[in-house]
Symmetry: C2
Subunit: 616 residues, 2 copies
């Protein structure tokens, strides 16, 4: 068994002193959300990079349940941090460009005021008397730190898991102090399943006799940072950690890690079961965790996580209403602790509020821990890098947008490329539809939306199934939602956009009825383009040769591998609109071979149709 | 909060005496798989219904991790059993018809020899000295019981979860004594994730000081059944049970159960956390379990489960090779403890051995516990009932098969119904292909296969995506695999069937290439029928009217809702075969309006084509 599989995302963490940690002390009393007060608060933190002259390049990193301020190494000799893969010079969160701040959370155990620090009122460690804290309390101490550092507005707040909850809280508690929010693998409230795992972990801790009701510190030997070490091993904390570890991994990643050599455990010293590879891994992780972490902190943090509740549905919408920032919401497809639906719920609420957001459900086998790992860094790091760069550049350099929109050579038939019909689409959207808001379904890399950005449109959003295209949109400063049209557009409210476009996509859609129904519901006007199956040469090909028609461009595929699974003509679509009670405002019929609009018998002479339709 | 949500599938279990339990005592020494010996073994069991004269109607029920012999109530006044929904007069396992036997497992704690029974060698309870047992050891004691009851061959062995492992073991250990095997929600070995949960549960037990190394019995007060009660509460057992409970439920069922009133716990007395609905539920289940179950038994049973290993891939195939029975393998779509892939692995291995099996992945939100619950009883109970009835009836009543195959009135166009082309298909399969084995892809309720059953074919199998159709096949005595053709046919080996049929399905397939490639790989000959898009009236409709062709029958749908997403002609398919290197042995072109075979220009004059193709 390789040593490697014993290394989890935080395998490098230890209780070694945080050599580059600084601290800020705040006099109290500091009132907590519960009404209880702390006489004083110390916040331990680390920083990376430098603030710029305007002090507007600060990125706050919020850590997860068992993290601390050491998010990355400060130099080559330093210990790696818990997000080493993402943060550093030239990395996704580029410390050559951004001023990165990472505090240890209130209630944590690495120096910030928490259960293992001195309670001035008693002269002993707080222990189990440390008051219950909330995510809002954690964020409030972070706000004090940001003030202390002279930062008026954070460029971004970024965090995963429990850290993501802090991001959500920042966005709603301090809307004017956050330019962008990046909640990752998180949720407005934990699922019942996740809650249950937390409860069992806490039960294991509190029922362990060694826990002694939380008063287990060696008060005679405080650490250099003022924290107190445990005088005993609280084995229940190891049980809690073992449960946690399962939930951080995906079933698939566990199979890959342990399936091959199940009966070949690593030889370790532990009182826990160790006769299989999984058992020795869990024993190792449990034992190591007991050495480095504090049981009371674990309870305080996990209770803060479980108490966090921005609501669901309408309540969540209301909770998120105050936010004013740009959003990049990220989930991971194999994360079952904070499943993608929960991130999508945040996006849904933001959209319902008329706020914009980008969302990507990163395809990954790594489960909840994916954001901490290298495996899918190209995607999760890439999304972060592109998003932050655009935020930092304000609304994006003009010339860049121009290039994106016009950078390709014109082609001679729309069936040859994706872009020639954009002139017509753009014209129709601007002249026939107007308005200020547009949603492009199947937006690709955002080409059409970039064109509209240069026109009168203020609110632009794309929907795209391909994650690479989502990343491209975000890097271009175009908000994009990663979703499959076939699963419906319930994330968008009735008449929430002046214009909804569906460009050359309808013929690939499995669930045509649902997509068209949703489109008519969401848009005041809808602009739909599709290849016309009634086009004369296509009819003739079937008629004369008795073969499924093929044509260059969109119809270049064979019958058995074409993405085009719906064949219909202009006449078919007109009938369909009648059936659906949709009004046809305009039909632009194009012959892309002659590059002309068709006037006579469009169903025979046009190879591409663009409809403007709507329904009240 | 309703009382209801506290009731789990075994909520009625208690440590009350098993009033209808019988027992059989076997003198030792009885050798275990480990080489260790037990001086004697008692097996406690319950029976329901009566053996018939031939004693060939016995169904053995194998219980899961924490079950016992009380599988159902014996009368209206009796306590409900753990599988009350499935077993009883007129139920899926009909005790008016079958003689049902359910033993308490070796190593259990309800009277069968186990850790809480007297060790004759020491005069004290075995406790932690109870030797490690395996699934094979459990099955061996069941075999002794079956001998004792004078049953030569079991009609069926049925069990879920750990019980399903016993079913697998029976089939391979005693191939001549099992007519049918029904492993439910089980696996040839636990996943790494499931193993990890078991390990943590055992760690919680063994690290609890109250466990005292397993010697915690009150030896002064044996129960009436000879078992010893615990003298203390082993809290770690409650932790193990809480973990178990999460894994038995699906995330969705947990949300439904606890999402609505999370902050409204039931008021209970417990030392465990109880301030949310989930917490109070877990505390209740944990506390109750400690009262009724034995910690050493839990360890013994879960270790037997974790040690069970019939292998994967080729090794599994070899393990299952000795079996001679009929198989119904069942999984549940939301079961993440024993995920459907693991049941499919069993099916795959059986098929690779040339053994037949039926398989259904029952659609369910209830997770692993689904087989114990009413929610999806129509499907899981229905599958069981139909399967057992056919086994019991031998190969099925002839007249029934006749009726199924011919029961419908002939229709005048094949586009109107499913069956008229079966005459041609049957003729082609029998006369042109011959052989003894046939696989029907997209077999529906098994109509074509029933026809072939009356001919020379010995091995018949269907593949079907609709679970109701799968159930119908099984009730007709036709083996059927529940699967989506689009996901490939890797479960079938190269040239493993003389004939593979794909009747009027290809035009609905997303992944044509994969399906056809697989079909050519699996079948020595393949018979494929499809509607011919080159049929003259269809060509003319598009040509003259410029509309997507519609026709009665198969092509009766609109362009936007048709299941037919591939349009191709006889000529297209011929070209495709050439490209794929497939030999066309025969084309039967039909005009189903005139009910005649077409001789001249089939691509113009036929509305349905049947090809016989193959590839070396």
């Amino acid at each position: 068994m390789s040593k490697d599989k014993f290394e989890s995302s935080d395998s490098t963490r230890s209780s070694r002193p945080l050599r580059h940690a600084q601290h800020a002390d705040f006099k109290g009393p500091i009132k907590l959300q519960s009404g209880q007060k702390l006489p004083a608060v110390r916040v331990v933190y680390e920083t990376y990079g430098k603030p710029n002259a305007q002090r507007d390049n600060a990125v706050l990193i919020c850590h997860a349940l068992t993290g601390d301020s050491h998010v990355a190494s400060h130099n080559a000799k330093d210990d790696p941090g818990w997000w080493e893969v993402v943060i550093g010079p030239g990395k996704a969160i580029d410390t050559d460009r951004y001023f990165v701040i990472c505090p240890n959370n209130l209630g944590g155990c690495r120096g910030t005021t928490g259960p293992n620090t001195l309670n001035p009122a008693t002269g002993r460690p707080y222990g189990a008397n440390f008051p219950a804290i909330t995510i809002a309390d954690i964020v409030e101490t972070q706000r004090m730190l940001i003030d202390h550092l002279g930062i008026k507005k954070l460029l971004a707040v970024v965090g995963g898991s429990l850290g993501g909850m802090q991001v959500l809280q920042w966005a709603v508690s301090h809307p004017d102090r956050v330019a962008a929010a990046v909640p990752i693998a998180t949720a407005p409230l934990v699922t019942s399943q996740a809650l249950a795992f937390d409860i069992i972990g806490r039960n294991a801790i509190t029922q362990d006799p060694a826990f002694r009701g939380g008063q287990y510190y060696d008060e005679t030997r405080p650490n250099a940072d003022g924290t107190f070490p445990s005088s005993v091993n609280v084995g229940g904390l190891a049980i809690a950690r073992m449960i946690g570890h399962i939930t951080y991994l995906s079933p698939k990643s566990m199979s890959q890690k342990f399936g091959g050599d199940r009966r070949s455990p690593r030889q370790i010293v532990s009182k826990f079961e160790k006769d299989t590879s999984v058992a020795s891994y869990l024993a190792h992780q449990g034992d190591k965790f007991v050495e480095r972490f504090d049981a009371n902190s674990y309870i305080a943090m996990s209770r803060a996580m479980d108490a966090f509740d921005l609501g669901e549905g309408k309540a969540l919408q209301k909770s998120l209403a105050p936010s004013r920032c740009r959003w990049l919401v990220m989930s991971f497809s194999s994360d079952w602790l904070f499943p993608p639906e929960q991130s999508l719920a945040v996006v849904r609420a933001l959209l319902a509020n008329g706020q914009n957001a980008s969302y990507c459900n990163v395809r990954s086998d790594s489960g909840h821990d994916a954001f901490l790992l290298k495996d899918d860094l190209d995607m999760h790091g890439g999304l972060l890098a592109g998003f932050l760069a655009k935020i930092c550049n304000g609304h994006g350099r003009k010339e860049e947008a121009e290039e994106d929109a016009h950078g390709q050579a014109p082609d001679t038939s729309i069936f040859h490329g994706r872009r020639v019909d954009y002139d017509q689409l753009e014209r129709l959207v601007v002249e026939e539809v107007g308005g200020q808001t547009a949603l492009d379904l199947g937006c690709g890399g955002g080409q059409l939306l970039l064109r509209l950005k240069r026109r009168s449109f203020k609110r632009l959003l794309g929907v795209e199934i391909d994650q690479q295209a989502v990343k491209a949109c975000i890097a271009r400063g175009i908000d994009c939602i990663h979703a499959d049209l076939n699963e419906g557009l319930s994330i968008f409210g009735d008449k929430s956009f002046d214009c909804v476009t569906l460009s050359r996509t309808l013929q690939t859609v499995r669930n045509v009825d649902r997509v068209v129904e949703d489109m008519l519901r969401v848009g005041r006007r809808c602009v739909v383009s599709f290849p016309n199956f009634g086009y004369k040469p296509l009819r003739e090909m079937l008629y004369a040769h008795g073969k499924a028609p093929e044509a260059p461009g969109l119809l270049r595929y064979k019958w058995y591998n074409t993405p085009n699974i719906r064949f219909f003509s202009i006449t078919d679509f007109q009938e369909y609109c009648r059936e659906k009670g949709a009004t046809v405002h305009r039909l632009v019929a194009l012959n892309t071979e002659t590059r002309r609009e068709v006037s006579g018998d469009p169903n025979l002479n046009a190879d591409l149709a663009i409809f403007v339709i709507s329904r009240k």
